[in-house]
């Protein structure tokens, strides 16, 4: 997705107010943007706290600010700067966090972002985008760039094995209809979930994808709400810790909407159950976010 972000931002760079800050990252990816923006591309060095505050001040001056780093370095390292300098002032700074979830795999836990949107959505005015596909990037960048609120864009890699067409970008998308349990997922994990459920048989799960948070920014579609109520069973699958993630948000929605379920499953990142590290796929497996585990959860839910 990072290459696509670069292409879209290069096209957007004709806006003379656009400024891009990086925390010394983007080698062999962002060079075209650097060359296009010239002095409006600023490598702030290994100093993320300063970078975030500088971005806030430049945004206050009316410039269009984009900030890029490996995800945890821009939301966790500089959390107080995001909180005080960006969000308290409601400044439109766009945080581009590369490597959502376990995206940096065997690089280690310090590089993972498994609590990113849960943490960020505690801040006033913050909006989160979780694009799932390469094709989503253009719309997400345009929407974030034209918006007037702080936002975080969680980047990963398009996980489609074959680049089949996907539904056009929308905050909520139905990936495959079905009469079975409702399944909601988020981000690039959607492709793996879709593959896991491909030949699961009848009744097929009703698979949905959400790409913008908080839920209050884009209400749960009426058709989805009706399906959840009708099915009576719901499964949330996300590469994020259980606390504060989509599962928690949907639980609150269920209570507030007075929807009663007979079964609920939340498949989420478990952190680091063992001392062993590995690829993103390995770490997902440790959390039950691999295809076989997901399939088994849905099968059990179908039979419940």
């Amino acid at each position: 997705m990072r290459q696509r972000v670069c292409e879209v931002l290069v096209a957007r760079a004709e806006n003379p107010n656009m400024v891009f800050l990086t925390g010394d990252l983007g080698f062999m990816a962002l060079e075209p943007l650097r060359d296009r923006l010239g002095d409006r591309f600023i490598n702030c060095g290994v100093a993320e706290q300063n970078m975030i505050s500088v971005a806030a001040a430049m945004a206050k001056e009316g410039l269009e600010l984009w900030v890029y780093s490996i995800a945890p370095f821009c939301y966790a390292r500089a959390f107080e700067q995001v909180r005080n300098d960006i969000c308290l002032h409601n400044l439109p700074v766009r945080l581009l966090g590369n490597g959502g979830g376990y995206g940096y795999g065997v690089m280690g836990a310090t590089h993972h972002a498994i609590e990113d949107y849960g943490v960020l959505l505690t801040l006033p005015g913050m909006r989160v985008y979780t694009p799932a596909y390469h094709d989503d990037i253009s719309v997400v960048i345009t929407q974030a760039g034209d918006g007037c609120e702080p936002c975080y864009i969680r980047l990963g890699r398009d996980e489609r094995k074959i680049k089949l067409p996907v539904p056009a970008y929308a905050p909520w998308r139905r990936l495959s209809p079905g009469d079975g349990p409702v399944v909601i997922t988020l981000g690039p994990l959607a492709s793996s979930v879709q593959a896991a459920l491909e030949d699961i048989g009848e009744p097929r799960p009703d698979l949905w994808l959400v790409s913008e948070l908080p839920l209050t920014s884009n209400e749960v579609p009426a058709s989805l709400a009706a399906r959840i109520a009708d099915a009576g069973c719901l499964c949330i699958i996300e590469e994020h810790v259980g606390h504060g993630g989509l599962g928690s948000m949907m639980c609150q929605w269920l209570v507030e909407s007075q929807v009663r379920l007979r079964a609920f499953e939340h498949v989420h990142a478990l952190g680091y159950p063992s001392a062993l590290s590995g690829s993103q796929d390995y770490l997902r497996q440790q959390s039950g976010l691999d295809s076989d585990s997901i399939r088994n959860v849905i099968l059990a839910l179908t039979q419940s």
């Binding site: 500088v54 001040a57 430049m58 206050k60 001056e61 410039l63 005080n84």
Partner: protein, 245 residues
Amino acid sequence: MLEMHYNNRVGHLGGNLSAIDAMLVIHHELMQPGDRFVLSKGHSAGAYYVTLWSLGKLSDADLRTFHKDGTMLSGHPPSRGIPEIEFATGSLGHGLSLAAGLAMAAKLRGQTHRIYCLTSDGEWQEGSTLEALIFAVHHKLSNLSIAVDHNGLQGFGSTAEVASMDPLDQRLAGFGVDLRRCDGHDLDALRQTLAPAGDGCPVVAILATRKGNGVLNFENKMESHYLPLTESQFAEAVAALKGSS
């Protein structure tokens, strides 16, 4: 400012008294239309509010609300409600980066206005303040003037005892700034020190100040960081001010 703090039983007066001379000179004599000021040591908000009052931007009635329920004038500068206040500060280590961002924006746009930033001395223990200085020097932000209220006392000890950066001027000069020094309570020295813009780099002016300046039995004392004035200290301070006017 004494009345504001005394009547409302507010502490933090020491750092306000060490900073107010610089704030008044910067706002009344140095800042031109378009220039900007960032109070990085947000705990000197009282002095900032009084400075804005002296410019006619806040009223007597506004000042009387200081620290009270429903006030705009919180203990540290607010993010909304007072147009002259650029940023909510108070957590140390943010203001210099914010000022550097304003200076960088001006530089990119070819604008000539200047940015003034007032920091504390203890604040240089914050890594983010050093990050900001590296950034400002690297980008040759000569439109940025940083005044350091060097009163030598911080929250729970002297800066020398807690985490010494002494000699602060030499340490900061090593970053490649236009380093200046002056008595932070000598108004003429403040004017002359802070008026010229940097020569190809940001200015850092170390202001030798006294915490609790002008209040007998309060000056240069740790108590002045947190504790409000006693009745006798307030009476003595007012008498001293009247005597010197």
